[in-house]
């Protein structure tokens, strides 16, 4: 069984060029995200990851838009949670701002207040958020929404939490507008080795960004390893 949908627009940001994604025009590389579209009073509530997300979200939705949001990130803005815990450990007063923003849906929350977004917001904490975010978006389309905004972001865990063997991921954020349609098919492949075509490109890291680049490429299918399963995305 496969699920069909269309991605009408996307954009993304990373702090460093990522191998294999250099030629993608919708993906920007810069030390810090472009914050020109984020007003200062909103910006003060956002750190690097939050600014990256806000910058992407605001490119794709109008003021008072009723578009639903799906936010997917493994750890979200974990630096804030850590700073709250560190203040508590030192028996210092906790910063009310850090406390209020140390929840997984905080970035979408403050952006939606600023932009007057009226759609519902779903948040997902998954190690690889692309497939769960697309599935959630397809569910919302099925419920009658015309468009769903997926915002996927991550960064490395702070050093204090990091396993010695854990790969360091560069901060990134990307945004997809999922609409009703059948330009793309998403399908779970129970036995990966037999059914995935030879020209298929597997997304081993930064899968959300690689998915964006795939949309612009001439490739017809790509696979996503996810929790011991493979998902295949193909173009119609």
């Amino acid at each position: 069984m496969s699920i069909s949908f269309t991605v009408s627009e996307w954009s993304g940001w990373t702090s460093v060029p990522i191998k294999g994604l250099e030629g993608s025009s919708q993906l920007t590389f810069s030390d810090s995200p472009d914050v020109q579209n984020i007003p200062p009073m909103l910006r003060r509530r956002l750190n690097l990851l939050g600014r990256a997300c806000a910058s992407e979200i605001l490119q794709h939705c109008a003021k008072d838009d009723d578009i639903p949001l799906v936010y997917a990130s493994r750890h979200g803005d974990i630096e804030r949670t850590l700073s709250v815990l560190q203040e508590l450990a030192l028996e210092q007063p906790v910063s009310p701002m850090n406390f209020s923003l140390a929840v997984h849906n905080a970035i979408c929350g403050v952006v939606s207040i600023h932009q007057g977004l009226k759609g519902n917001i779903s948040t997902i904490a998954a190690s690889n958020g692309l497939v769960p975010a697309l599935l959630e978006a397809c569910g919302l389309i099925e419920e009658g929404n015309d468009r769903v905004l997926c915002i996927i972001c991550d960064t490395s865990t702070p050093e204090i939490y990091r396993d010695r063997h854990e790969a360091v991921e560069q901060p990134f954020a990307c945004c997809f507008i999922v609409t009703k349609g059948n330009a793309l098919n998403l399908e779970m492949i129970p036995n990966a080795s037999k059914q995935i075509p030879d020209d298929n490109t597997p997304f081993l890291n930064y899968s959300a960004l690689r998915f964006g680049a795939f949309l612009n490429s001439t490739s017809t299918s790509a696979s996503l390893p996810h929790n011991n399963q493979h998902w295949m995305i193909s173009k119609n």
Binding site: P40, M41, R43, R44, R45, P93, S95, P96, M97, S100
Partner: protein, 77 residues
């Protein structure tokens, strides 16, 4: 205050000593009020009583906050 509230694009000259800090003035909100409270405690050792009517007056402008600090500080800085 600029530092405590991460008001990175605002300079000291942009904040009037007498204009309101909240709503129509500088545009601060309730989270900022709490953050100012914590900053006063950390920097000047001032513990505020949130139920006291004075708090509203002291938080109305920069000059009122300065008065609060002068009268109540327990840490010299």
């Amino acid at each position: 205050m600029i530092q405590a509230l991460d008001l990175e694009d605002i300079s000291i000259d942009d904040i009037s000593d007498t204009d309101p800090l909240f709503h129509d003035g500088l545009g601060l909100d309730s989270i900022d009020a709490l953050e100012i409270g914590v900053a006063l405690q950390k920097k000047y050792g001032i513990k505020l009583n949130p139920d006291s009517d004075d708090v509203k007056t002291y938080f109305s402008s920069v000059s009122q906050l300065a008065k609060l600090v002068e009268l109540n500080r327990t840490i010299e800085g």
